[in-house]
Symmetry: C2
DNA sequence: TCAACGCAAGTGTGATCACAAATCAAAAAT
DNA sequence: ATTTTTGATTTGTGATCACACTTGCGTTGA
């Protein structure tokens, strides 16, 4: 494999220039909708229209409809028989279903990561712990957005270390599906008790630091179960209150 | 909720008429590509073009490009930086990764199904066993297609009983991803030893019949591991042979 | 002889249009 | 007053086109 003169001179240039990367409009639309979904910016049951989103994102309908199609196959959105799409509604069954799947898959991912994370990577998520405390100290009220973002970064930094190109997309799909639910729980959390979310994350980091896969899985299960059981109780309470109003 | 006169007369009609269902072209293209992928009609590393598929399926490019986009997000296809799409190549790592994920998720699904399948449903998959024997008795050579179809029906009949709307799409995604690999294994199987595939299915049915979740999971793991380890050995043998030819 | 250039065919992406189906509101009928 | 009908608007779907980028092959030049 001999290199020609121009190839060699090109190598010199390549060493100084960063690849520009060509992101399509569709990709940006898709990412934007994903972000909104995971962050819970859309409410469950809300219906979305192609033209409406295209206007909001200032593009034509084409990139939007393809992005919507992709999100539908991931079950992040739902295609009604009317051919309109909506954010899937929350039901008790779905909540339990999602939690069970997340415990199963994310639990496996963190168990794998526990034996593969380098000290370097551990220190990264340890740093995130500090960032969390910082945010909590300042106590800005509208930091719910930041909180979910930080939470996401923390978890996926771990999952990325599991070394499975198959599991990670599945976890992303699960987050996409539970995003609209979680938002409700987070809001309720910051209102109600100040149960320190960081405490659970600290337990996870401690387990990972000593490569204890079982403990890490256990701590993770506790972490992700919390908002789900909270939401579950809330839903049941709401249902009870409603049936009491008109028996 | 009071019904009007015409609504009630409509109900009478509705009881006799089956809903016709409005399937879009895109849906048909998507289903067709799925079928081809799971059945292993596409070879790993094969590149696909929108216009080429559109010609083959006798439609315009529009439904095809959206179907391709959906398959790419499911990791059933791969988008190269060149913006061309191909069916993902097989590597040892990917093989192990897929098998681990399938054991995890399909194992959980069958364990759930074990406690939920009705005798009626058990008898259905028992009937499939008979169909399998029948096919094997006739010994038609080109029944590989029928074999993979029957295998798929058998497994998904079980998974459908797990009662999880979240797990099933994930399993479908996994089958989509391992489809192109499995085909190679199936072919090699029918050539090589006559290891009765039905034997493993029989074990599964037996375990499900007595609602033994652990045994069902174990039998399933043996069933799906077989083609994977077979393929794994084949790949390693090929690699060894190649490196021997030019040391 | 082989690298470099240039042209042509092929390909994905996005925009726009036409059409059918759904939705909604006002008008008409009971 | 309630139901039905009618018509206008909205919406998803598929086709077609324009554009930019890639690829492959033949030509040119050293």
């Amino acid at each position: 494999m001999q290199k020609t003169a121009t190839e060699k001179s090109n190598d010199v240039i390549a060493a100084q220039l960063a690849p520009v990367g060509r992101e399509t409009v569709q990709d940006r639309v898709y990412s934007e909708l994903r972000r909104a979904l995971i962050g819970g910016l859309f409410e469950p049951n809300q219906t979305l229209t192609i033209r409406g989103l295209a206007d909001a994102l200032v593009t034509s309908t084409m990139p939007v409809r393809e992005a919507l199609g992709r999100l539908i196959t991931e079950k992040a959105l739902e295609a009604l028989p009317n051919r309109s799409v909506r954010v899937p509604p929350i039901t008790l069954d779905r909540l339990d279903d999602l939690l069970r799947a997340r415990i199963l898959i994310e639990g496996e991912a963190i168990a794998l990561a526990a034996t593969r994370m380098t000290p370097r990577q551990i220190s990264v998520i340890e740093g995130m712990l500090g960032e969390w405390d910082e945010m909590r100290a300042l106590k800005h009220k509208k930091d719910v957005d930041h909180e979910v973002t930080l939470n996401q970064s923390f978890h996926f930094e771990i999952y990325r270390s599991c070394g499975s190109a198959v599991l990670i997309p599945m976890i992303e799909s699960l987050w996409l599906q539970s995003g609209p639910c979680i938002r409700v729980a987070i809001y309720a959390f910051s209102e109600a008790g100040e149960v320190d979310t960081a405490h659970y994350h600290r337990r996870i980091v401690a387990a990972l630091a000593v490569q204890d896969a079982a403990a890490a899985r256990e701590a993770l299960v506790a972490d992700i179960s919390r908002p789900f059981t909270f939401l579950r109780n809330k839903l049941q309470a709401d249902a009870a209150a409603k049936s009491e109003n008109r028996p």
